[in-house]
């Protein structure tokens, strides 16, 4: 199974350095670190996902001595690995460029958002295809824009909520978040295995 994650690394070998380069450029520009980290994590993870989505890649992986469970699981474990791989340079970069050490709460926040996203994106993509994810998220965006018309200060409110969440100093609260995100992730994992086992190539 680790071989499958290594495979994703080999396939991403050419794009990863570029991604890191972009990452550093973004870090110089004064954009929210969390935002950049989330976007990069998702892009890298979904990129790896997409490479294996073609029917030929599925033919190959399923003909090799791997079970479908392992193929799906490698994506979920790999995603965690890619999150770490993105957060590490961001953490270091932030420290070197801005001289600040990221708070663990921020890291947790980023990880939770990305894991939450994946929990929906993976089963959705296994069921349909990741290209429809764009349509799906487009739809979500339209809904967001529409909501924005009715609640013009939505962005500020969201920011407020995020700020309040981050400033909360209740370890039990954080524990609940970690637990629920982990639970969501595992459920999504099981669901994806179920969907993928029934697939036809």
């Amino acid at each position: 199974m680790l071989d499958l994650i290594r495979k994703d690394m080999i396939l991403q070998k050419k794009t990863l350095p570029f991604m890191l380069l972009f990452l550093f450029i973004y870090l110089f520009v004064n954009v929210s670190t969390s935002w950049v980290a989330i976007v990069f994590c998702i892009v890298i993870i979904m990129n790896a996902f997409e490479t294996d989505e073609t029917s030929s890649a599925n033919l190959l992986l399923n003909s090799l001595p791997y079970t479908r469970k392992e193929i799906v699981s490698s994506k979920y474990i790999g995603a965690l690995f890619f999150i770490f791989l993105t957060l590490l340079p961001i953490f270091i970069g932030n420290w070197m460029i801005h001289g600040e050490i990221m708070h663990w709460k921020v890291l947790l926040f980023i990880t939770s958002i990305v894991m939450g996203f994946i929990s929906f994106a993976f089963p959705f993509s296994y069921l349909f295809k990741s290209k429809y994810l764009l349509i799906g998220s487009g739809a979500v965006f339209v809904i967001y824009m529409v909501t924005l018309r009715f609640i013009p200060d939505l962005n500020d409110r969201v920011r407020e909520v995020v700020q309040t969440v981050l400033s909360l100093d209740n370890s039990l609260f954080y524990f609940t978040i970690i637990l629920s995100v982990a639970l969501l992730y595992v459920l999504s994992w099981i669901l994806s295995i179920r969907i993928y086992s029934r697939k036809v190539f």
């Binding site: 890649a57 599925n58 003909s63 090799l64 001595p65 791997y66 079970t67």
Partner: protein, 293 residues
Amino acid sequence: MESVIELQHVYKAFKGFELKDLSISVKKGFVTGFIGGNGAGKSTTIKLIMNLLQPDSGTISIFGMDLKKNEKEIKQRIGFVFDSNIFYENITLTEMKEIIKPAYRKWDDSLFDQYVDMFELPLKKNLKTFSKGMKMKASLTIALSHHAELIIMDEPTSGLDPIFRSELLDILRNLIQNGERTIFFSTHITTDLDRIADYITFIHNGQHIFTKEYYKIEEEFAIVKGGPNLLDRDTEQEFIGIRKTNHGFRALTANKQRIENIFGDTVIIEKPTLEDIMLYTKKGEERDARSYS
């Protein structure tokens, strides 16, 4: 004799297509050619054997083990080649090897290098730039580098020139020298089979027509040619398929001996090719369909 692949009463239905009660066994140590027209179900059958599809009912066992329960163990021992390229396109052959290699316990780098040399494949070039023939050679190299006991190929010779096809057959022949390896491959270039196939498995319209030793086909089947006056409602029943012209008929029989007894010297009896058998089976079916309607 020991069977390596054993399909028992396998059903699989898709929209507009059905594999019906397919029972096939592939003998260990031999080459089995898998023939049938387009859409006969060859690729579907191969996908079922590779567990890329699951049967609606029936069982599939390979190396005497249930495919569902021992999928990993079984696939360790299979080398596969598909008709289309299934490699990632933006990497080199060396990188592809690095991806495949860890999957197999018995991967053999020296064997890999040997085939790369033999096929004169570039290791550092993007797989995207490979020609169709080179891609096939690359697939073959990967399939043969882990000492597989069973080699499954879907149309490996399609789109290849005669020289490489001939080379491929030589390689396959060398592979089966020790008697431990089994080769199962589908093809529609039936002349490839003349040289190497020990058994022929023929499917038509999702149904298994026969699996026979190659020489038995020549013994049992025959192309019969004769004048038009020889055919009537009864004699027509003796044939699988008939092609009639004003000057005479050409037909396929599955019982050469019987035809010789019935017609004697009034007809010419010839060896059939596999293509004849495929063609006349289809023709016969059309006739039957007409007579039913």
